[in-house]
């Protein structure tokens, strides 16, 4: 069993699990932090951004000044933003049989995988995941496509040039593989490959393994996955939450008795308690608005925003904010607000019961009804006529590189009365703000990340007791900035196995049993050779030979084997000991015989005669039955 780690981002994972002749991709998250290296895409022509000076090397060489611009001591790429894709070279992605998606944030790289790698398998995800994932992709494509940028910079990516650039561009990894955003067509095509599943539904993969999604409590329709055969069980825990927010609570019991538990998607801000942050959010919002300032909340169109609106619903009256308009601007704002109300079966019990009253499960319906919350697809159109200040605006994208938020940053950045409150934990707020410096508006960082923290993980692991834990390397040591915080890492026995990008892990358990059915008759020979697609059935692997090959057993005594070789005329034999066995080197024939505990390989250069001779010699030492 092997795990191929295609992403180094702990909360945007993309791993491939090879288990019992199936190849399963676990999530395909898209690391969008790469966009922070690019200049924002303004909706309206921004003189400030277009007049930024070009960057030149220390020696004055200005050949990059078209591609790179300087702003307040930082250098940005002046081009369409690009994303850092999961590794595509580590494993042939066309061999992936299925992709399991755990939540809508972890599927943003899906079009890159399904449309450009020869992928022919199936994607499994829950309905809310697909619907909200589609909204997120749609918003992303819309944000980028509506501001077409003629220029595409690639010169700076040259390795020799990149070395000369200032940080963080200099240290950016795998820039050559960075890609532009996909198109809506690719999104639709990718989403058409998804098969919808429900919690606890058992899905058979080729009769070899069974996969089951479980509620993970993090977002609408978010899931953890159980991948099991008759004798082995692998749990894949991605973004999960134990807090009582809107989604169905996490199913922990089903994770018990796992041989391996792959753990990803923990909170990105382990030191910030979501409750405290919500309090901070509300107080700062109230203080700003009271002083006549506007509040900007860069956010995704789904997820935490539902909880924030619910908190504000309870808070605005007590804080005397009833007359302050709340605006939610996103191409998918309307769909997001409506979708949230119809996925009742995926909501927590409390909200589910409301549906039977019948009441809308989320109170933002009432905010909309009473005109306290208004939503618009874009700042063009109706919004500009309704717009009233002071106000609170929720809009994307949280990276501050594209979307309507760019306009508000330019509009409100100059006044210290206004405040931008960062609630999404995915981007460093300081880096996000860098191209807007110098900035007069107040910045508040209230990251709200409801995913598991380390205390909760340690309780979870004690409860479900997996034999082995596998996790990103970031979780096995305290955060670099707080190296003394031993509590901010996974502490379990045996110690967790860690992975990093582009690493292949051999998972530490051996399959001891296999369930087989013995039939009285020999299996019928397949009449037609099956195609390359669903080829992983056990019967498919039987080569086209007329006689069944006998089974072999026993080990090869090296000394006797060498003597036998000498008897057959091989003279220059050299034996090397290796960690796993021996290598017998036939120097003259440029041939290797690798003898290990459970395998023997004969490696010779296109000399079939020689190979067969050597094979027969090897076989003499083994028993047949």
């Amino acid at each position: 069993m092997k795990l191929y780690c295609l992403s180094g981002h702990p909360t945007l994972p993309c791993n491939v699990l090879k288990f019992k002749s199936t190849t399963i991709m676990l999530d395909c998250g898209l690391d969008m932090t790469s966009t922070l290296n690019f200049l924002p895409l303004p909706l309206v022509q921004s003189p400030r951004l277009s007049n930024l000076p070009g960057w030149s090397l220390k020696d004055g060489n200005a050949f990059l000044d078209k591609e790179l611009k300087e702003c307040s001591g930082h250098v940005f790429v002046d081009s369409v933003p690009e994303f850092c894709l999961p590794e595509t070279e580590l494993i042939d992605l066309s061999t992936v049989d299925v992709i399991l998606i755990s939540n809508y944030h972890c599927m943003m790289a899906l079009p890159y995988i399904t449309e450009h790698t020869g992928f022919t398998g199936t994607v499994y995800a829950t309905e809310p995941t697909v619907q909200i994932g589609r909204l997120l992709m749609e918003e992303l494509v819309n944000f980028i496509e509506r501001v077409p940028k003629a220029q595409s910079a690639s010169l700076w990516k040259n390795k020799d040039i990149q070395r000369l650039l200032p940080s963080p561009l200099k240290d950016a990894v795998e820039v050559s593989t960075w890609r532009r955003c996909y198109t809506m067509q690719e999104v639709n095509s990718a989403l058409s490959k998804i098969q919808l599943v429900g919690y606890s539904q058992k899905i058979e993969l080729f009769g070899a393994v069974q996969v089951t999604p479980l509620s993970s409590g993090y977002a609408l329709g978010s899931s953890n996955w159980i991948i099991q055969s008759h004798y082995e069980k692998v749990s894949y825990v991605s973004g999960s939450s134990l807090l009582t927010t809107h989604p169905q609570p996490m199913d922990q019991a089903s994770l018990k008795n796992s041989d391996v538990l792959v753990l990803t998607g923990l909170t990105q801000i382990p030191t910030a308690n979501p409750d405290g942050m919500v309090g901070e959010f509300c107080s700062n919002l109230a203080l700003t608005v009271r002083n006549g300032g506007n509040v900007l909340v860069p956010c995704y169109p789904s997820g935490v925003i539902y909880d924030l609106l619910e908190c504000l619903y309870q808070y605005i009256d007590s804080a005397g904010l009833s007359n302050i308009p709340f605006y939610f601007i996103s191409p998918v704002a309307n769909s997001s607000l409506e979708f949230s109300q119809i996925f009742a079966e995926w909501l927590c019990h409390n909200k589910q019961t409301k549906v039977y009253l019948p009441e809308p499960p989320f109170p933002h319906a009432e905010l909309i009804q009473t005109n306290k919350l208004k939503h618009y697809p874009s700042l063009h159109g109706d919004f500009s006529s309704d717009f009233r200040q002071p106000c609170v605006v929720f809009t994307g994208h949280p990276s501050l590189r594209f979307g309507d938020v760019v306009h508000f940053m330019e509009l409100w950045g100059k006044s210290s009365l206004n405040t931008v409150i960062f609630t999404e934990p995915d981007f460093s707020y300081l880096e996000a703000l860098a191209p807007y410096q110098p900035l007069a508006m107040k910045c508040i960082y209230c990251p709200i990340d409801t995913r598991l923290n380390f205390i909760q993980v340690s309780k979870l692991l004690k409860e479900v007791q997996p034999l082995h834990v596998v996790c990103p390397e970031q979780y096995t040591q305290p955060p670099p900035a707080q190296s003394h915080r031993m509590d901010l890492m996974i502490d379990c026995q045996p110690p967790a196995m860690s992975y990093r990008r582009a690493e292949v892990l051999a998972l530490p358990f051996k399959r001891r049993y296999e369930k087989i059915e013995i039939m009285p008759e020999p299996p019928p020979r397949p009449t037609q050779p099956t195609g390359g697609k669903k080829r992983k059935r056990a019967s498919d692997d039987i080569p086209d030979c007329k006689v069944l090959k006998p089974l072999l057993s026993g080990s090869i005594p090296v000394e006797q084997f060498v003597q036998a070789l000498e008897k057959h005329g091989f003279s220059d034999i050299k034996v090397e000991d290796t960690a796993k066995g021996h290598i017998v080197l036939l120097q003259e024939a440029e041939t290797l015989i690798q003898i290990e505990e459970d395998s023997t390989h004969i490696i010779c250069d296109n000399d079939e005669m020689l190979r067969v001779r050597l094979r027969d010699l090897v076989l003499k030492f083994l028993q047949k039955f």
């Binding site: 919500v278 509300c282 107080s283 700062n284 203080l287 009271r290 808070y315 007590s318 915080r485 509590d487």
Partner: protein, 823 residues
């Protein structure tokens, strides 16, 4: 016993004796026993029995084999014991062999009823009452009760077990009262048989391997030495102390908590602590043998002792400080701090052994901090008090809890992992930090204290309860910070802190969590009360958004917050710190005066807390001569009294009387004594005549309010009003002479109206009263009588024994009627 009760008693006894009758609930029986107790204490029990033969009948009756409820049996046992407490009555009962039948083997002791814990408890309590005289001791010995008591010490019911232990203590004390008194040298061998038996039992228990038995023995001894300081206790301790010392040699020490209690009880006993030579050694030995958790209470107890050898105190203090020493060690603090905490602790204990797991670490630290907090204000606290290391340790703990400490060692890392985010430790540490503000500390440590407090006040992760404690500790530290010489302003250091604190406060006042808003307002009120008059503070406060936000919180949805906002606004306004925004940014022009706003709250708020707060503020304003009030005091008082009189909350009405009293004192020319520094309003020259003096009171309709309150359905209001009117009457007397008795018909009509009010019909107002009429009414009223009546508890009628007996019978009587209906 009064004749009415005597008449009811036979019926009661027959009800109790009848198993078919449902017995009134336990509380009735308890009340009956209380009543019998008062009777037997006041007079002769023998007489009581003779006058009421039904009682004896009841006692005899319960002994018959029948299905009697355990409650009644228990009641009878206790009653019998109570009666037999007097020796003549005891003899009387003995003649009829009643006592052995009740308390001996033949009684309930051997029967099925014994399985009920209430019967066993009644048996013990009966004996406890009975054991008052030497004859009782003989009786106990004869009927073998002591052995039963021994076995009851391990009873499954904790109440029974504990009562059994106490009974043993009582019997021991009683048996040694006569013979051993005055003979401290008397050996236990010469003690009465009963006492010897008990002592042997205790010895045996102490030698036992079973912890419960050791615990029982230790508890008996603890109670004995705690209650009795006779010389014989010295002999007893002399005999048993070696056995107690033996317990210390076991590992682990059995019944450690009880052992600690016993040793402390011995140490506190004036007889034992002065004489027994080995006590201090035993205590020292115990301190070193017990685990840190168990030793903490012992160390605290030792440090609280008035007299105690210095060496032992030092050792106890070192034990108490051990966990904090560990914290300092693990976080590699400056060695100077460590030395003074380590003291005579001997081998230093490592974090791993002392604070091995999260639960142990949290528990021990909380207890240690609580112990030190108790110790700090005591005069006998260790001296020198290690203020600086304690401050250092507390600040470190708080930092570890918030995750801001950066320990370099592994042990520190573990400690950090245990403590981070732990609310319990945070609360305990903040409480202790507040207590430490009473001492001083090195400058840099005080800076650290303020820094850590600010960190807690700023952190969004501080839980509401932690935040409240942080506010409290902050106020205490600000209060204790030295004032600049020659100026009563805050010291520059505290000022600096305040400058950083004030931006935090608005955020807290906007918190979605009402507890946070509330504690923020409370803190603010305290701050203004203390520094509201000082220029630096005023400037800083006025520059912040705090005053405006506070005013907004008057309309908070949470009533507690509104109440706190009212108090804070009252303070702000008193100090002239209320902002009246007139800028174009705040249209709305004419801002409502605070007085109007508070009156609005008083008359419309649906919750009591904000209305009570308004009354407090108004009273304070009147007392201080607040500008809004001083302009037209009479109108203000009239309006407030009018609103308050209609309030449904009695505390508001009572506070209205307080305000009336302040007004009365001011009007009658007595300067208010409550606030000597307040600016008093220009009091008019003492009015020349009584009528003139009373006229303002009449104008504000103070009398209508007070008379109405006099007949208030809530007793505290009526009492307060009575006091006020009595005070007023005394004041009018000082003006001398029966001035203006008023026209008789008018007085009569007022009196008639008051009588109607008293009867409950308060509909009709009195209208304006002339001072003469008021004086006449006041003089004619029996206010003293009323005060006496009010002083009696309101349930005095219901509590009478007669009523009790009637109640018990009534419940049964109802059943009798049912029965009649059936047949």
């Amino acid at each position: 016993m009064d004749p009415e009760c005597s008449q009811l008693l036979p019926a009661l006894c027959s009800v109790l004796a009848d198993p078919r009758q449902p017995v009134a609930d336990d509380t009735c029986l308890e009340k009956l026993l209380d009543w019998f107790k008062t009777i037997t204490e006041a007079g002769s029990s023998l007489l009581l029995l003779q006058e009421n033969p039904c009682l004896l009948g009841l006692l005899c009756h319960v002994l018959k084999p029948q299905d009697l409820s355990p409650r009644v049996l228990s009641f009878s046992l206790r009653l019998a014991g109570m009666l037999a407490a007097q020796e003549d009555c005891f003899q009387y009962l003995q003649q009829g062999e009643l006592l052995p039948r009740l308390f001996g083997e033949a009684g309930p002791l051997g029967g099925a009823a014994w399985t009920a814990p209430s019967v066993r408890s009644g048996w013990i309590q009966g004996l406890r009452s009975l054991a008052r005289h030497p004859s009782a001791l003989c009786f106990l010995a004869d009927c073998g009760a002591v052995d039963t008591i021994f076995s009851l010490q391990g009873d499954s019911s904790l109440f029974v077990a504990s009562a059994a232990g106490q009974l043993l203590v009582h019997i021991l004390g009683l048996s040694l009262q006569g013979p051993a008194e005055g003979h401290p040298g008397l050996q236990t061998g010469d003690w009465p048989v009963c006492a010897q038996k008990i002592v042997s039992h205790i010895e045996e228990s102490l030698r036992s391997a079973a912890t419960p038995q050791i615990t029982q023995a230790l508890n008996v001894l603890t109670t004995t030495f705690g209650h009795c300081h006779d010389p014989w206790t010295q002999v007893l301790w002399g005999r048993l102390s070696p056995l107690v010392a033996c317990l210390l040699e076991k590992d682990p020490v059995p019944a450690a908590h009880s052992l600690v209690d016993l040793l402390l009880s011995v140490a506190r006993s004036p007889v034992l602590s002065s004489s027994s030579s080995g006590l201090w050694e035993t205590l020292a030995q115990t301190l070193s043998h017990l685990s840190p958790t168990q030793a903490g209470p012992l160390a605290l107890g030792i440090l609280k002792l008035q007299e105690c050898p210095q060496v032992l105190r030092a050792q106890a203090f070192a034990v108490l400080l051990q966990p904090l020493t560990c914290v300092l060690e693990a976080t590699a603090q400056a060695p100077g701090l460590l030395d003074s905490l380590d003291g005579t602790g001997g081998a230093s204990v490592t974090v791993d052994t002392l604070l091995p797991s999260k639960a142990a670490c949290v528990g021990l630290l909380c207890r240690t901090l609580a112990h030190l907090e108790l110790l700090q204000p005591l005069p006998q606290r260790p001296s020198p008090w290690p203020q600086a290391p304690l401050l250092g340790a507390t600040v470190t703990i708080l930092r570890l809890c918030s995750g801001s400490a950066t320990p370099t060692s592994d042990a520190g890392g573990h400690l950090c992992a245990f403590l981070v985010g732990c609310v319990r430790v945070q609360r305990a540490a903040l409480d202790f930090l507040g207590t430490l503000s009473q001492g001083t500390g090195p400058r840099e440590l005080v800076t650290q204290v303020f820094a850590v407090l600010l960190e807690y006040l700023t952190s969004p992760d501080s839980s509401p309860t932690v935040l409240k404690k942080a506010f409290q500790a902050t106020f205490r530290w600000l209060q204790s910070s030295p004032e600049t010489p020659g100026c009563s302003d805050l010291d520059p250091h505290a000022h600096l802190f305040l400058r950083e604190l004030l931006p935090v406060l608005p955020k807290r006042l906007c918190s979605p969590c009402w507890e946070v808003r509330d504690s923020g307002l409370e803190f603010l009120t305290q701050m203004i009360g203390r520094w509201g008059g000082q220029a630096g503070f005023r400037r800083a406060l006025l520059a912040s958004e705090v005053p405006e936000l506070t005013e907004q919180l008057l309309r908070d949805p949470e009533s507690y917050v509104r109440a706190s906002a009212v108090a804070a606004m009252g303070q702000l306004s008193s100090q002239g710190l209320r902002v009246t925004p007139a800028s174009p940014e705040h249209p709305g022009g004419q801002q409502k005066s605070l007085l109007a706003e508070l009156l609005h709250i008083l008359s419309t708020d649906s919750e009591g807390f904000p209305r009570r707060a308004v009354m407090h503020v108004f009273t304070q304003w009147l007392r201080d001569g607040h500008a809004d009030v001083a302009g037209d005091t009479e109108r203000f008082v009239a309006r407030v009294l009018q609103v308050a009189s209609q309030d449904l909350d009695w505390e508001v009405r009572a506070q209205g009387l307080e305000l009336a009293l302040v007004f009365l004192e001011q009007t009658l020319g007595r300067p208010s004594s409550h606030c000597p520094y307040a600016v008093t309003p220009p009091v008019a020259a003492p009015p020349s005549s009584l009528a003139q003096a009373l006229r303002p009171l009449c104008r504000v309709q103070l009398f209508e309010f007070a008379f109405r309150a006099l007949f208030d359905c809530d007793r505290p209001v009526a009492q307060k009003s009575c006091d006020l009117l009595l005070f007023l009457r005394a004041q009018t007397a000082s003006y001398g002479g029966p001035q203006g008795s008023g026209s008789v018909p008018e007085v009569a009509s007022v009196e008639a109206a008051l009588q109607r009010w008293q009867a409950g019909d308060q509909g009709q107002p009195l209208g304006y009263l002339e001072p003469e009429v008021v004086v006449a009414v006041l003089r004619s009223m029996d206010l003293e009588g009323l005060r006496g009546a009010l002083a009696e508890s309101s349930d005095r009628v219901e509590k009478s024994p007669q009523s009790l007996l009637q109640d018990v019978l009534a419940t049964v009587g109802a059943l009798g009627e049912d029965e009649a209906d059936c047949y």
